[in-house]
Each structure stands twice: as C-alpha cells, then as structure tokens.
C-alpha cells in the first residue's frame, strides 16, 4: 500500500513538473510556430492564436485548465499540429512501443546470452575480440550506425525501405501485405537499436557473471553432478542477472531516448521524433502529453523491475 502511495505522490509531483518544465523553456510557441522569421504574421493574427490556445491566460489559470482537462482524459490540443494531443501522439507511441519493445526484448535476450558466453569462454581469443567489438559498438552514436545500415542495406543492396513505418502504396494495404510492410520497415531501425543496446547488456552480464563463476554453490552444483548447461543458466546466469534486472526500467527509458536519432534517420514516425519536434516548436500541450506518457512508462518499468527482482532473488521478497 505504501508503495502505491509513493507512486501516487510521484505522479502528482510529476504532473506539476510536467506543466512547469515546458513553460520554463526560453522562447514562445507562437514565434516557434511561424518559424525562424519565415513568415510575417500580423499582430491581430498573433493575438487570435494566443486566445485560441489560451496562452493569454495567467499561468495559474492555465494549470487549472490543464488539470481539469487531464482529469477528463483530455490531454489538450497540439499548437503545432492543430489536432488533439491524444490523436497526434497515439500512433507515434505505438510505433515507438513497437520499435523499442522489439529492440528491448531482442537486445536483452541476445545480450544476456552473449554476456554469459563471453564470461564462460573468457579465455578464448574470439571472446576477447567480441568484448572489443562490444566496446566499439557501444561508443558509436545511434544515428551513425543507422546511417551506415541505411546506406548498405537500403541504398546499395536495396533490401529494405528508406523511410517510414509502413508501405504507403495504397494497393499494398491488404492485411498480410501491411504486416510484411511493417516488418520490413522495422528491421533496420530495430537492428540499429539492438546493435546499440546489446553490447551494454552483454558487458554488464559478463561483468557480474565473472564474480559468481567460482561461487561455492557452483562448486556444489558440479559436485552433485549437474550438467554444465544447467549450471551455466540456472545457477550462474540467474544470479548474475540481478544488476541487469535492476536496470530494466532505466534501460527502457534510455532506449526511448536512443530511439530518437534512429527515428530521425529512418523517418520512423515514433514518439522520440515527435517529442524532439514538440520541444523545438515549444508545443506545450504535446510536450506535456509525451512527457506524461514517458514518465508513466518509466514508472511502470520500475515497477516491473521490482517484480522481476523478487522473481530472480526470492530473498528480496522475504526481506521486504
């Protein structure tokens, strides 16, 4: 119960912060809306815009309206996209959830497996080479990796599409073709994120596994005649996964941030790119909506991590 109360207090604090942060940004939405002096708008039109979006109201009044609308499930109206925030960010969140979800699952499973192998086979020369490769991959910026994949697999080989998340050709809008289109568009951005995320996971698992390789319970398991595979995954890896599980929530948030440049490179219509545009355009309602959802996702990730921690280490539950 106290944990739920804690999460609730965090949520209230976040709502206040969520309202204040966009407004603390220098620059005003109307100047950003019409661009860098690209368009000369009359003072009358500027005033009309201010009234339309409630920007002429005092901040306290804007806060009341924001909370009131939020309680009714209304996230507001995007200043830049001239559409309800829920409609603008709904599909973007789904695309990012798909991209980040797939990358998260693949990078976690493959990364954990690779980490275990790197630790167990640490004396092999290929393992040392792979550790070096992991370090190089981890230090590469996501957009550079994405650009390289785009040039090789899309431009040179012509295997994958250049942009977007679906086939935009109307004749391909049949369900099966749509599904294939989604998959084809997903592969390169997801591969970029997996390549960017997997080394970190592998190195983390490897480091924590090295500490338990020769633990007494491993010796005990061997003495009982258990198979090497069982010892490796049930005894060693399970104990080495704790730091990884602790970082699960954080990792998902980081993956969300890493998705931004990848989404830009592949013109993938995700929430990262949308948030970037919203920040540039000082689109307060859209920033608020996206931040709120992001924060809820991270909170949820943390809750899941707590649950996962108890699963991996039953001592945590019994101590609580």
């Amino acid at each position: 119960m106290s944990r739920v109360l804690g999460y609730l207090l965090v949520l209230i604090f976040i709502l206040g912060l969520n309202f204040a942060l966009p407004r603390l940004l220098p620059g005003d939405p109307l100047t950003a809306l019409v661009g860098e002096q690209d368009l000369i708008i009359s003072p009358e039109y500027r005033q009309e815009l201010q009234q339309r979006y409630g920007l002429d109201q005092p901040l306290a009044r804007q806060l009341v309206v924001y909370v009131d609308h939020l309680v009714q499930g209304d996230l507001g109206y995007s200043l830049y996209y001239q559409a309800p925030v829920a409609a603008v960010m709904g599909s973007a969140l789904l695309w990012t959830a798909l991209l980040c979800g797939v990358s998260f699952v693949i990078s976690t499973i493959l990364g954990a497996w690779l980490g275990v192998e790197l630790a167990v086979q640490r004396r092999q020369s290929w393992a040392a080479a792979l550790v070096g490769a992991c370090l190089v991959l981890e230090s590469l910026p996501g957009f550079l990796l994405g650009m390289a994949l785009l040039l090789v697999f899309s431009l040179k080989l012509g295997w994958f599409p250049f942009f977007g998340a679906v086939d935009i050709m109307p004749q391909l809008n049949r369900p099966a073709a749509f599904g294939m289109g989604v998959l084809r568009h997903l592969i390169l951005p997801a591969l970029t994120l997996v390549l960017a995320e997997l080394p970190g996971v592998a190195l983390l698992v490897r480091a924590s596994l090295l500490k338990v390789l020769a633990a007494p319970y491993v010796l005990g398991a061997r003495a009982r005649g258990l198979g090497e595979a069982r010892i490796k995954y049930r005894y060693q890896a399970r104990n080495a996964l704790l730091p990884l599980i602790t970082r699960l929530g954080l990792r998902f948030g980081m993956l969300w941030a890493m998705a931004l440049p990848v989404e830009v490179v592949f013109a993938y219509p995700g929430a990262g790119q949308l948030l970037f545009q919203a920040l540039l355009k000082r689109d307060y309602p859209l920033i608020q909506g996206l931040l709120l959802v992001s924060i809820l996702a991270v909170l949820m990730g943390n809750a899941l991590a707590e649950w996962g921690y108890r699963w991996a280490d039953p001592r945590v539950g019994s101590q609580a």
């Binding site: 002096q37 009359s42 013109a267």
Partner: protein, 524 residues
Amino acid sequence: MAKKILWLAPLALVLVGVAFWSAGGGTSSQQYLIGDPQGDWGFPSPFAHNPRGPGYLRVSFLFDTLVWKNAEGFIPALARAWEYQESPPAYVFHLREGVVWHDGKPLTAGDVAFTIDYLTKHPHPWVDIRPIKQVEVTDPYTVRLVLSQPYAPFLEEIAGTMFILPRHIWEQVQDPARFQEPRAAVGSGPYTLAEYRREHGFYRFAAFGQYYLGKPTAPEISFVQVGNELVALKGKAVQAATVPPEAVQELKDQGFTVLSQPHFWCLKLLFNHAKFPQQDLAFRRALAHALNLPDMVSQTLRGQGLPGSPGLLPPDSPWYHSPQTTYPYNPEAAASWLASLGYQRTPEGWQRHGQVLQLEVLTAPPYARAAEYVKKSLQAIGLKVNLRQLDHAILDQRVKTQQFDLALSGHGGLGADPKMINDLSMGPLAAEFLGGYQPPQEFIRLLTEQLYTLDESKRRQLVARVQEQLAQELPAVPLYYPTWFLGHDGRVPWFFTRGGIAKGIPVFFNKMALLPGPGLSGSP
C-alpha cells in the same frame, strides 16, 4: 563455436528472406513522391495547415485562388480576367463559368464574397484583407472588390494568395482550425485529397478530372516524410527532393535533373539598436567593412551562394536594385569607423572611456560556420567577440526582446512583393527582423509611397530608393543568400515561380507544372 554459428544461421536466413520478399517495394510509375524531412505540415485545409510555406503549398494543390503565378508572372486562375478601376479604387474579377468544386457543385462569385466575409471573422496568417472595403457581386460570375485606397501588392498579397472557400461547406463552420473532416479539403484545385497520414507526413493527391484547366498530367502526386532526402532520391524511393550542393554533379551523372533556384533566403547579421555602439551607423559600417562577404560565401558555403546586398534584396529578385552604397572588405576603413566613435585600439581590444568593447554573437546550429567566420573577421580587426549558440526559438525570442549584442538570423520571402520590406522595417515587427531599428521619416515615407503606387515603373524607382536607403542606413548586414537545389527524375517539368509561389514561397512545386497544354508554366 561451429554449433553457435549454426544456431545463428536460421536467424540470418529469416532476415535475408524478409529482405528478398520485400524486393520490388519501390514506387509505381503512377506514383510521384516528393520527399520532405519535416513531414507533417498540418491537415491540408485553408485554416488547419501549418502557417509556414510548406503547409500553404500543400493546400494549394487542393484550393485555387483568383489569380496565380507562373515563371513569368500573374496568370488567370479562377478569374479568367480582371481589371482595375481607379475611382473608387477597385478590382473587378470575371470568374470562369463551369468551374466546379471537388464535390461537383458550381463555384460562383458568391463563394468569393463569402470567403472575404469569412476571413474578416477568422483571420488567416497569409491574407490580410483589411485593404478591401467592400465586396459587390454584380452577377454570378463577376465580383468587384472595392479598396479603401490604391494598394499595389493587391494581386500578390490577396488575389493570388487567398484560397476561395466553398460557401456551402464553410458557412456552418465556427472553428475553422479544428474543422478537419474530408469535406474541409474540398476545393476547386487540380487535385483532390486522397489520403493524409499525419504520422508519416504523407499527403496523397489525386488528379481532379473536372478541373477547369484540364486533368493534371500526373494522376497522383504525394508528399512524404523522409529521413535523408538525398539517399531517398538516389535510391529512387522518391522522385523529387531538395539536395545539398555537393551532391549536384553526382546526381546529374546518374541521370537526375537538378535545378538551382533563385536566392530568396538571406542570412543577416542583426544589431541590437537599443544598445550603443550598435545603434550608431558608424559602428554598423565598421562591421560591414570587416566582413569579406565573397570570401565568406566561398568558405562557409563552398561557393554555393551569393554575397549579401546591403539593399537586402538579392540580385535575382524581380525588384533588385544594385545599391551605390557598398561596403567592400576593408579592415582599415573598419578601424577608422570605430575610431570615429571614440574607440582606441589597445592590445586588449577597442577601448572607450577605459572600457573594452566586448560583443556576444548569438547564433543557431545551422549557421555555425558563418558564425565562426564572423567571429574571426571581427577578431581580425581587434574586437573581442564570443559566440553563443542557441536553438532557433530561443534566439528569436532574445532578438525580439532585444536581449543581445549581435545575432545571426535568416528569413525567406525575398522574392515576394516589396511590401515585405515594409513588414520587416516598420512597426512592432522591426524588433524581430531588424533588432529594433527605427527607420527615419524619409524612409517611412518612401516605404508607404511604394505601397500605394500602382504604376510599376514608378514603383520600381521607389523600391530602388528603398534599397539604397537600406544600404545607407544598414539596419542589418545581409551576409549571404545560399543556393538551394532540387533534384528530380525529370518526369514533371518543374519551374520556379516568379517571386516564389503565392506571396514568395521559395520552392519549385507549382501546381501549374502538372497541368496539360503549353503556356501554363510560362517557363522557357
């Protein structure tokens, strides 16, 4: 190890299989895609589109105006002819008969009158209809617009920019920005809206068979968001896109058509006119002499641009005048102007009353190279300068509130009607565009006079004097006009509109290029 490789093999096979299954996912010959890195520019209705140029451009495929422009100048659109009456000043537009909206209903003078009435209640960022005093519908195909006084930019600013709305659809609409149903895209333009997907920045327009100038030659035309325009064009995933100068030759070698466009965007060095010494003409002239603009173009744009004219308008503007007052690179002259303000050069910098002059130059990421060049040039004459990089929104606000010393900022629209100079030199907007510059009375008189002079040759002389005045007063230093390029597959005969589309949108995608028959584009 070999076992592990065997495990990974199926995964790789799946990847390659999916890739091969996907082969042939290019665009069909029916499709014509234009790539745009920004993507979404709002729902394409006259009131819901993003107020910037690309938003307006998309709507222009769906809605028509009374007149339009091609490469040569104004051409008839919904109005087959028009005439000007002097007393009282008025324009009479004779509409084409038989024009229909996308829903098949006829377009009449009543729709034009309704549009003007609607715009008085719902201001539009692109059209200021205040010069219109009265609207008279003399018959179903004739409308007379009486003006409060002669207004030279009328055709460009109003008749050539105002989308005519279907009365039967919009008369019930109270909140036009939120009216985003398919009916809101029913216009009288050459294309109908077939599809709009916000998240993909995707606009698909289908040719309108009953268009009064003939069915467009391209059955479909679309805009779509791309991550990298050049890569998408080279991979033939799009058929047209803006390309960087360094890719021009390579694209030509690959068989693409590459067009360069007039220089209607300018990067300026802004002065804060509320501060000394920036408010002093001698200081502004000193800085102008300290900058070697041709060298700046060569170094920061690799030669792909034109050095700024102190009269603001670029050499390829229809209204360009080469000012007699110029500021060639001359560090000695710069030093002499600084000395005239009482500054003395010391090893620490230029001092006055014991204080060293220190300047901060605000800049945004796209201008990083230009900013470095400005910094080095000013340091070369002994000024102490530091750069501060900000994002556009912050930079614009700092300029608007005059919280800066010097700033680099750019704007487009330089091909538009010279009314643009009035907008950025006078009134409250001067703070945003010229750092709070207060023009002298004589300059204001010239600007006002050119706005109300209908005789084009007389107006040309006045606009020339305006540019001369700008060169003398130097409220800001125009640094350069970059050259922009369009790469495309050559299927559509794109041309550059005189002065830019509508009131100066500097892009090639004029709908007239898609219409059948000669003469509509006006291009040679």
